[in-house]
C-alpha cells in the first residue's frame, strides 16, 4: 500500500458517508493527513490470515433479557432537549419528502 493518496473527491465521499460538512481547508488538510495514517494502520495486513471467521471480543454468549416491560421516559423527558421545536410531543425535522413530482 505504498504511496496511498486520496483525491479531494474521495475525501468528500468519506465525509458524505459520515454526514459531515467539510470546509475546503479541511478537505485539503485531511487529504494531506489521512494517507499517512491509513498507510500506517494498513500494516495490519502484514499478518497472515489465520482467522476462523468471526471471534467475539468477550467470552460471553446468550446474554438475553426476559420479555418484561418496565417504565421508561415520559414524553416530556424524551423531548426535553428540543422544547423549542417539539410539537404535540413529536420531534420535528425538515420534511424528508422532496417536494414536486419525480425529481
Amino acid at each position: 500500500m505504498k504511496g496511498t493518496t486520496l483525491t479531494p473527491e474521495e475525501i468528500r465521499h468519506i465525509a458524505d458517508l459520515a454526514m459531515i460538512t467539510l470546509t475546503d481547508e479541511e478537505v485539503a488538510k485531511y487529504q494531506q493527513q489521512l494517507p499517512a495514517i491509513l498507510e500506517y494502520v494498513h500494516k495490519v495486513n502484514e499478518i497472515a490470515d489465520e482467522s476462523k471467521g468471526f471471534t467475539s471480543h468477550v467470552d460471553l454468549s446468550n446474554v438475553l433479557r426476559e420479555d418484561e416491560p418496565e417504565e421508561t421516559l415520559t414524553q416530556e423527558e424524551a423531548t426535553q432537549n428540543r422544547k423549542g421545536t417539539a410539537k404535540n410531543g413529536y420531534i420535528t425535522v425538515d420534511s424528508v419528502i422532496t417536494s414536486g413530482g419525480d425529481n
Binding site: 458517508l17 468471526f54 467475539s56 433479557r65 426476559e66 410539537k87 425538515d94 420534511s95 424528508v96
Partner: protein, 479 residues
Amino acid sequence: MVYELIIGLEIHIHAKTKSKMFCRCDAKYFSAPPNSHVCPVCLGLPGALPVPNKKAIEQCIKLSLALGCNINKFSKFDRKNYFYPDLPKGYQISQYDLPFGYEGNVEIESTAGTKSIRITRVHMEEDTGKSIHSGAKTMLDFNKSGVPLVEVVTEPDFREIKDVTFFAKRLRQTVKYIGVSDADMEKGQMRFEVNMSLRKVGEAALPKYKVEVKNIGSISVLEKVIAYELKRQSELLDKGETPVQETRGLRDLTGVTHSQRIKEESNDYRYFPEPDIPPITFTDEQIFANRETMCELPTDKKARYMKDCGLDSALAETLIATKGRAEWFEQAIEGVTDNKVVSQIAKWFVGDVIAFMNANKVKLAQLKLSHEMLRELVELLNLGKISSTIAKQILPEMLETGKKASVIVKEKGLEVVNDEGAINEIVKKVIAANPKVLEDMKKNPAAYKFLIGQVMKEMQGKANPQVVDKAILEALQEK
C-alpha cells in the same frame, strides 16, 4: 411482447412481544401518545446500550423452522450504518452474514399443482421510528423505534402474481398460527418489499437489473404494484430500454410506483458485528424442542383434511382460515370415522355456523352451539329423522339458544313425516292448485320440482323429500 416475471419478496413482520427488541419499553405502541414509549436505548441517547429480548429471538426461530429453514447455531447481531431522522442511533441493529434462519423452503399451491419457493433467510432486527409528514416538516415519533421485526427474504422464485399473493396470505396465516405475530395489516405489523424484473420467455439467465419497491402495507396493494411494474417494465423493454436498477416507493394505495432517486453509493452500510451484544448460540436440543412443540401449520393441516377426510380444496381452505376455526372443526369431528359425515359437518360449519357468527358478530369462544350439538344435528339428518329443510330451519335457533336439535325437534314436533297417505293427500291438493305446472311440464319435464316445494311448504317442511318426489311423479303419471 410477453415477458416472464421474476419476483422475490422481503417481508417485515412485527414479532409479538411485550417489550421492545433491545430495551424494556412497552412494545404495544400503536395508539400511544408520541414519544411516550421510549427510553435512552430506543431514543438513541449517548451511552445507552442494547440488550436482546429472549422472546423475540424465540419468535424468529419459530418462524425460521416453520419456513423449513436451517438454524445458525452460532449467530450474532450486526450494525447496518446509515443516516435517517427516524433512525435514532444512525445505525440499525440487524443481522448480516449469520442470520438466525437460512436456506428454507415453502410449498405453495400454484397453477400446475405445487411450487417450491426458496427462503433465503429469516433474520431479526429492530424497527425505526415513525415519520408523519406535515407540510414543510416531518414529525418524528420514536415509539416504534426498537420494536422487534422478523425479516423473511425469498429467492426470486415467483413467476406469477397469484403465487405471490398466495404466499403472502399463507405466510400471514402461518405467523398467526404459530403466535409469532398478530400480523394486523392496519397496524403495519406486516409489510412487504418486492424485487421484480422481467425477462423474455425462454431465457434462462436472471435479468441484469432489478427494481425494488418498498413499504407495501397490504396484499391488495402488493398485487397492484406488481401489475403496475409489469406494465411499466414491459413498456421499457419493448422499446429496447433496460429499466433502471433502483428503489421505488409509493405515494398512495393505487400501486403506482415512483423513483426515489437515492444514490447507489450512499447505500454503503458498512456492516460490522455489533460489539455491544455477545453472540447467540443454539443447541440441537433447543432447535429440536422448538420443532416438536410447534403446532400443525396451515399448509399441513389443509393437506391432511384433503387426504384423510376427503374434503375438497376450497372447503379445506375455509376451515383452516384461522387456527381457532380449524381447532373447533377438529373437535367437532372427533370420533367421526365416516368421511361423508365429516364432510357434512364441515359444510354445515362453514355454511351456516360461520355465516351466523359473521352476521351476529359472535366469536367462536362465545358460540352457544357445541361440537356435540352439531354432530347430533347431522346424525338426526342421516338417520332420516329430520329433513334437510328442517335442519336448516332449526340451526339458527340452536345457535341462538344453545338448545340441542333433538330437543327443538321434539318441542316443535318437527320429525320427518313418512306417512304416504298423508303425503298423497297434500300432493293431490297441490297438483290441483297448480294447473300451470302441468302445462310447463310439456316443455320441461323437470318443472314438477316446483310442486315439491309447495308440498313441503304445506307440510311445514317435515315431509320426507324422497317420498314427496315419488308421490308427485306417481300422481302426475295417473293424470
